[in-house]
Structures are given as structure tokens and as C-alpha cells.
Symmetry: C3
Subunit: 130 residues, 3 copies
Amino acid sequence: MTFYAGQMRLLDALDVEGYVGTFTPDGVTDHAHRGERVEGRAEMLAGAVAALPRYAGAAVRHWNDHYLVEEVDENTLHVSYCSLVSRTDSEGRVTFEPTFAIEDVLVRVDGRLFTRSRTIHRDRPSARAS
Amino acid sequence: MTFYAGQMRLLDALDVEGYVGTFTPDGVTDHAHRGERVEGRAEMLAGAVAALPRYAGAAVRHWNDHYLVEEVDENTLHVSYCSLVSRTDSEGRVTFEPTFAIEDVLVRVDGRLFTRSRTIHRDRPSARAS
Amino acid sequence: MTFYAGQMRLLDALDVEGYVGTFTPDGVTDHAHRGERVEGRAEMLAGAVAALPRYAGAAVRHWNDHYLVEEVDENTLHVSYCSLVSRTDSEGRVTFEPTFAIEDVLVRVDGRLFTRSRTIHRDRPSARAS
């Protein structure tokens, strides 16, 4: 999971160029819950820069758990996990964003992993609990 | 920890039949902090179904950490860890249940792991801090 | 990460003697964000005992993620990770301390890992988000 440790640090440091560089050039991010699909590093970078003001005044951290890794072929992995996102403000107060489930396709290029696609589902109350 | 990634997904999806199926037929769940011991899949399933309304209106996620695994024999593992449980409501607000420490006995049957027993201790303030 | 699972349990159990014993005799803890550097087990223990009242009435848990391990030589590891700290009070209410980034130097002595130094950085809002 070293790949995610590195990628999440770039994301949480708001190093948008570094983060986008962990995707393949044709990488896709799909915020399925708001129908927002972004394709290619240039478009991803523009979207990430535009989203930066959301994080003004807060240190963001992604806490991931329950990774399931499926090896599709020797250079392709399907990885799913869930994520809790905290925001610590300058006074040290911690708040949380809605929890998410994520599905990634990772590919190995020249021995290094990249995200080819990331699909993000916001957690919704289950219909089973009724 | 693939076993837990799979089992926690079933639990968080409120797939109670799937979750109970990850226990041995004579599996035991012991909520030690409220003296509630349930034995066998049928009893576990009835208890889980009865508890479903607790999760109405919220997406539940278990966040586990600090797994310690002790191999008792080639088909038996003692695993302990702690768990933080979040609830995300339909507006995306996140709240948390009290944190827990868990002790499991896992057994391997025909090459597949099952939980034979799970003992759950709710975290209480320590007497050392005074 | 068995080392951390064990060390964090001692810390969360407020077993300050046990926790300090996971450091080398000349171990250092540096709370960089408040300029508080403590050196050697005796000084660390005194500091930890003095801090215990902070945790009165709460069960503390450290939730770590995104470990990156760099092997410096065969007996020295640089490990960095981030940490979320929860407090569960006697009524089960959960609150959180500010999130942190941690940098450790671990050394292997007679086959067993110890922390030689721990540097703790409190998360601050990033200047990039503006």
C-alpha cells in the first residue's frame, strides 16, 4: 500500500501537480455521486486547482481502510477501499466530510504504479436498515 | 488483512446474511461491555436483523487499526485490533460511536478463514489518568 | 507494522512505563509544533506521567495511516505516517484532537525494534489552499 501512502500525502499536502502525476496521462476521476467525470491530467489539474479554496483554513487528511486488491493481469490491479476525510482547522478543531467508497484501476508502467481511473461513491444510508 | 476488508464490507453494507456467513456455524459474538453473548449463525442472524433499525438513516463504516495476529496453530489465529465506527447521514453529517477493542479467534476451514469467536470491549476511560 | 500495533496499545492504555520502554534508552520525542523536546527514558517517563491528567475521563486511541518505510541500513528504518487521535468519554461521546504527521527513526537492537526518535508535527492549514 506504499502507492497509496505516497499518493495520499501529495493529496493531503494539496500538491495538486504531484497528485495528478500519480495518474496515467489519460487518467480518469469520476465523482459518481455528483456525476462529475474528469479525464486526462490537464483537466484533472484544472479541476484540482479550482477546488483548492474548499480547503482554505483546514489541513485535510484522508484515512483509508479495507483495501481489497484484485490482480487483473500482471500490470493491472483493481483496488477498492473506503475513505474518511478529516479537516483540522487552525485552532485544531477536527471535522469530517461524508465517508466514501472508492474503486481504482491501477496500472504498472515501467515498473511504477499509476492510477488509470478512480471512481468515488459517497456513502448513503442503506435501504436495508428499515 | 484481506479477511477483514471483506468481512467489514459485508457488515457496513448491512448484508447481515453475508456477514454471519463469515463466522463458523458455531460462531460466537460477545459484546462483553453489555453482557450480550450470541452463539451460532441462526442466533447471530436474528440479533443482527433485530439491530438493523439502529442504522436507519446512516451509512455505517468500521475503521480498524493496530491488528496483532498470533498464530496459535496452523489453522487458528488470535487477532486483536481496535475499531472506530462512523455514521454518515443522508446530509453527509458524520458522527461516531464509542471506540472499541476487539479480540477474535479465526479458524481456517478448507483453506478459508472464518471467525469462530468475537469479543467486543467498549473503550472506557482509564483509571491510570488520575 | 506489528511494532506500531504493540506500541500504540501501550500508549492508548496509558501504560507509560511500557510505552517508554519501546524507545531506546537515549530515545527522543520532539513535539516540534510546541518546541518540546524530551531526551532519554527517564525524562520521557516524567513527561508522560505529568501529561496523564490530560486523559482523565477519556479513553484515547491513535489511528495511524499511510506508513512510508525507508530502510536506511539493515538496522535503521525511517518511518513516517499520520495520526488521528480520538477520545471516548464515559458516556461514549467521541471527540478528536488535531491531526498529526509523525517521523520516526526505528533501530533494531538484538533483533527487536525500538524508537530512537519521534518527531511530531501538528497539521496546519496549507498555504496552497488560497
